[in-house]
């Protein structure tokens, strides 16, 4: 049930303004403290030895030579630490491999030394004898009966979802059904079935995973600084892993250098603890970027089969999607209860389809364990589904825009994720019409090698819980204390804007403090597009409580009843005698002096996804150099369904950032694997877009009035990514008639597809736009 809509008209004084980031001054001065900037006295380095084999038994580990190296303070293997499996939800991952390694990069031993080089060199002196076991890398092979079973004890794991399957190596099988797809296919005039594959991609936050841990010698309290955006969950996981009560663990929330979903797991924290315990010194572990690319928790690679039945007039009748997620060796990195991907429920797309069946399989393979990355699951599924929509349009000789308009979701249409009541205030059609307009879709004049493609998707905010503590000091400064990290999204700034708006004070009068996990009992943490929706609401509730408290105090101070007091422009005014008023500072001072400083706390939990969805459409225009296959992205047009924009600069920043991640996903990013080995092990090999890849981006906003989050706002951060890859794939098809169904869309793939189609064109000399770097 939505509370507190604050449906004022436009004309906000703080919300909706391009306020610069409140933590911005620290960031531009180099003063923001990220985990690795926490320099504790006597801190030592921890370095890890990793498995070179994708699947092997550990026969023997001999760390004696390493231990003898001068400067080495500790060497630990699995036998030195508790036999506990860890995981964000499904606890299937050892902290150090015990008798088996299941992916190249799995941690086998850890060394502590004062000097980083000494620690690294010592890891190379640990002798490990492995006996290789048959490995499996393809999820479609892993699910067959004959494939090696990677987790024989699956049923004994804590956190095993109810959806665990009896299929070999499938630990989560989520499914949704509406109607009867088989009947739907029989009722269709045409049935299309296509298979798409997507690659592993890495979040590529510039700050690698970092952990700093110190055990207080007197109290035994474990102090943690870590690049992790879910501190309470992590505290609990850490407690379970190391056997220390959660009450004795404190996580100091640090600045985080990018997350995009990738910074929620324990990573090296438990090892830091054991090393700290063994050596009596604070320990830090910072993953090198090679380690990140080898053993971070990247986006799942996938095989997606989409089967769609349509009537000859273009109406979608049935759609069946089977998604096989290459989850890697462990499910430990996935946070939702089903240990599956949250985007799976939207696999059938932003369309009204009477018969739907989705099967989403999380599969074990001997490769890097995968986790969440900006709109997890949906990015892959949108590539598949939206590519197929264009393939269907082509077969039916229908404009891809018209096919989508015809089948666009409307208010109340049942969907697997929104249930039988569907969504309200659906802007699906509007967003399609708007992008057609802003991209001049119907008027586009084709020229050789140039093409356009369209894609559509939708999503929503996430649920969860959050805490906020609000106080006013005798100086009149309103302080918000939270423990949600701002991973770069600008959430902190928006929260302060909301407070300034509601208390009618200048933004500069609001301060935000990020606390430790001692501040509150528990909360979900940043992610899932929940922050503005859930934490924002907690803040609004806190403001209401604070207002009531301030009014009571002011009333007492002015000798009137609380109803007599109005809050106007940050002052408490007696309605009857307007000359009698008090500033916030005065009220706060009085309250403080009485030993009852003005402070309120609020906890908010959202348990239901609201009925307002968020729709996004994208038109990509490309030119393809047919001699080399290179794709030049000429323009991207995106349309976003919004209501109130809380901070236009932050909002556009989320769009810009998401879109360019989509471009990287479509064209250049790939964690290239050879038999489970990641061979692209630095940021030169793994290619994320740089400033030269800046393409003209046109953003259009379709403005509505209804938004589920505070001040009628809507989600943006995870919306602006899924449409890009399919729009580009569709544009490439429009440009040169090749359909790439396997990401990324590289120049070489296009080159081959063109050549296979027209062998004589290999020697062709069509003058085209040279796209040479």
């Amino acid at each position: 049930m939505q509370t507190n809509k604050h449906a004022k008209g436009r004309g906000f004084s703080s919300v909706g303004k391009p306020a610069p980031r409140i933590e911005g001054t620290r960031k531009v001065s180099g003063k923001a403290l990220y985990t690795a900037d926490t320099l504790l006295p006597d801190m030592i380095w921890g370095k890890v030895l990793r498995s070179p084999y994708p699947h092997a038994r550990i026969v023997r580990i001999d760390s004696s030579r390493a231990k003898l190296q001068p400067g080495v303070m500790a060497v630990l293997t699995a036998s030195d630490i508790p036999n506990v499996l860890t995981g964000r939800r499904l606890q299937d991952m050892p902290m150090l491999a015990r008798d088996r390694v299941r992916f190249i990069g799995e941690k086998v031993a850890v060394v502590a030394a004062q000097d980083r080089d000494v620690a690294e060199e010592a890891t190379q002196m640990i002798e490990v004898e492995y006996q290789e076991l048959p490995a499996v890398f393809d999820p479609l092979v892993a699910i067959t009966e004959g494939a090696p079973q990677l987790h024989a004890e699956l049923k004994s794991y804590k956190g095993l979802p109810k959806l665990a399957s009896s299929i070999n190596n499938v630990y989560s099988h989520d499914q949704w059904r509406i109607g009867d797809v088989e009947q739907g296919f029989r009722d269709s005039d045409h049935v299309f079935e296509d298979t798409f594959t997507t690659q592993h991609v890495h979040q590529s936050y510039l700050e690698p995973h970092s952990s700093v841990l110190s055990i207080d010698k007197e109290t035994g309290v474990v102090h943690v600084w870590v690049s992790n955006k879910a501190p309470y969950q992590t505290k609990q996981s850490l407690s379970d892993a190391i056997g220390v009560p959660a009450a004795k663990i404190v996580i100091h929330v640090s600045a985080i250098g990018g997350d995009f979903g990738g910074k929620g797991a324990l990573m090296d924290l438990p090892l830091c603890y054991f090393l700290a315990q063994r050596t009596g010194r604070p320990v830090r572990m910072i993953m090198t970027y090679s380690e990140e690319l080898m053993a971070g928790n990247p986006r799942h690679a996938s095989v997606i089969v989409v089967k769609t039945g349509v009537k000859r007039d273009g109406a979608l009748v049935a759609r069946q999607v089977r998604a096989f997620w290459n989850g890697g060796a462990y499910g430990a990195m996935k946070p939702i209860p089903s240990v599956n991907l949250p985007g799976a429920v939207k696999a059938t797309g932003a369309y009204r389809i009477p018969n739907v069946r989705i099967d989403s399989y999380a599969v074990y393979t001997n490769s890097v364990p995968c986790g969440h990355f900006r709109s997890p699951g949906l990015v892959q599924l949108a590539f598949a589904g939206e590519s197929q929509m264009d393939m269907i349009a082509k077969s039916l000789h229908v404009d891809p825009l018209d096919l989508r308009l015809q089948n666009a979701l409307r208010d109340g249409d049942p969907t697997p994720s929104e249930g039988k009541n569907g969504m309200v205030d659906v802007k699906c059609r509007e967003v399609l019409e708007s992008v057609a307009d802003s991209a001049n879709w119907k008027g586009f004049k084709k020229s050789p090698g140039v093409g356009r493609g369209l894609a559509l998707s939708y999503r929503n905010v996430g649920i969860g819980d959050a805490n906020a503590r609000l106080s006013v000091g005798p100086d009149g400064i309103v302080s918000l204390l939270i423990t949600y990290a701002d991973t770069g999204t600008g959430a902190h700034t928006i929260l302060c804007q909301m407070i300034a708006e509601l208390l009618e004070i200048p933004l500069g009068q609001v301060k935000l403090e990020v606390g430790t996990t001692d501040c509150f009992r528990f909360e979900a943490g940043t992610g899932a597009s929940r922050v503005t929706f859930v934490l924002g609401q907690a803040v609004l509730n806190a403001v209401d409580k604070l207002k009531a408290l301030i009014r009571d105090w002011a009333a007492a101070m002015l000798g009137v009843s609380a109803q007599e007091i109005a809050l106007e422009k940050g002052r408490l005014v007696s309605k009857r005698q307007r000359s009698r008023s008090l500033s916030l500072a005065q009220v706060a001072a009085a309250a403080s002096a009485s030993g009852e400083p003005l402070e309120v706390e609020s906890y908010h939990e959202a348990t239901e996804t609201p009925a307002e969805g968020v729709f996004t459409a994208c038109v990509a225009e490309v030119s393809v150099d047919t001699e080399t296959g290179q794709v030049h992205l000429r323009e991207l047009n995106t349309v976003h369904d919004v209501a109130t924009i809380l901070n236009p600069v932050g909002h556009q920043g989320q769009i810009d950032g998401g879109i360019i991640q989509g471009v990287g996903y479509a064209l250049t990013e790939e964690m290239v694997m050879e038999d489970g080995r990641v061979v692209t092990l630095n940021l030169g090999e793994y290619k994320i877009p740089n400033i030269k890849d800046l393409s003209p981006l046109q953003t259009t906003l379709v403005r509505g009035n209804a938004g589920a989050a505070p001040f009628q706002s809507k989600e943006i951060g995870e919306s602006a990514i899924s449409q890009v890859a399919p729009a580009i794939a569709n544009a490439v098809y429009d440009a040169v008639g090749v359909r790439i169904m396997d990401l990324p869309i590289t120049a070489e793939k296009i080159f081959r597809a063109l050549r296979d189609r027209n062998p004589e064109d290999d020697a062709s000399s069509r003058e085209v736009v040279p796209g040479i770097v």
């Binding site: 960031k27 001065s29 590529s204 990018g258």
Partner: protein, 153 residues
């Protein structure tokens, strides 16, 4: 270990480091100047960018010993008397940062660019910042901030 005499942000600093110590490590670990960030450490991401005699360099591939006799400026040296520089203010205004991790490197690369070329065109800005990756912003805000700074000058 060897003694080093470095000039950092206008100050003469004496410190000690291993002979083959990298400037990045000396700045962060030796001198506690953690504004310069550790990113990829293979000279691709630019998070470690500092200015050496006015030129942008990746401190993860610079020997600290090589810096003797040169002027090193880090992000901590951009503000004067606690006042943010014009470029820093424009970064804030134009949304040129989100998580902020690439920001020190971007600021140093941009500063070096504007020093070498006070009036850079679009292409020149792209070239000047071609060694600085950002994952959050999509570069648009960074671009606008630098253009605004160039115009202002």
């Amino acid at each position: 270990m060897a003694k080093l005499k470095l000039q950092i942000n206008g100050e003469e600093i004496e410190t000690e480091a291993k002979e083959a110590a990298l400037l990045l490590d000396v700045l962060r670990e030796g001198l506690g100047l953690t504004g310069t960030k550790r990113g990829c450490e293979t000279s691709h991401c630019g998070a470690c960018t500092v200015s050496m005699d006015g030129m942008a360099v990746h401190s993860c591939v610079v020997l600290a010993a090589r810096c003797e006799g040169k002027e090193i400026t880090t992000v901590e040296g951009l503000s004067q008397n606690g006042e943010l520089s014009e470029l820093q203010r424009l970064f804030l205004k134009h949304g040129a940062l989100q998580c902020g991790y690439c920001t020190p490197g971007m600021l140093m690369a941009a500063t070096a660019l504007l020093r070498r070329n006070p009036n850079p065109g679009l292409e020149e800005i792209k070239i000047g910042l071609d060694g600085n990756l950002c994952r959050c912003t999509g570069y648009t805000g960074i671009f606008e901030a630098i253009q605004a700074c160039a115009r202002g000058q």
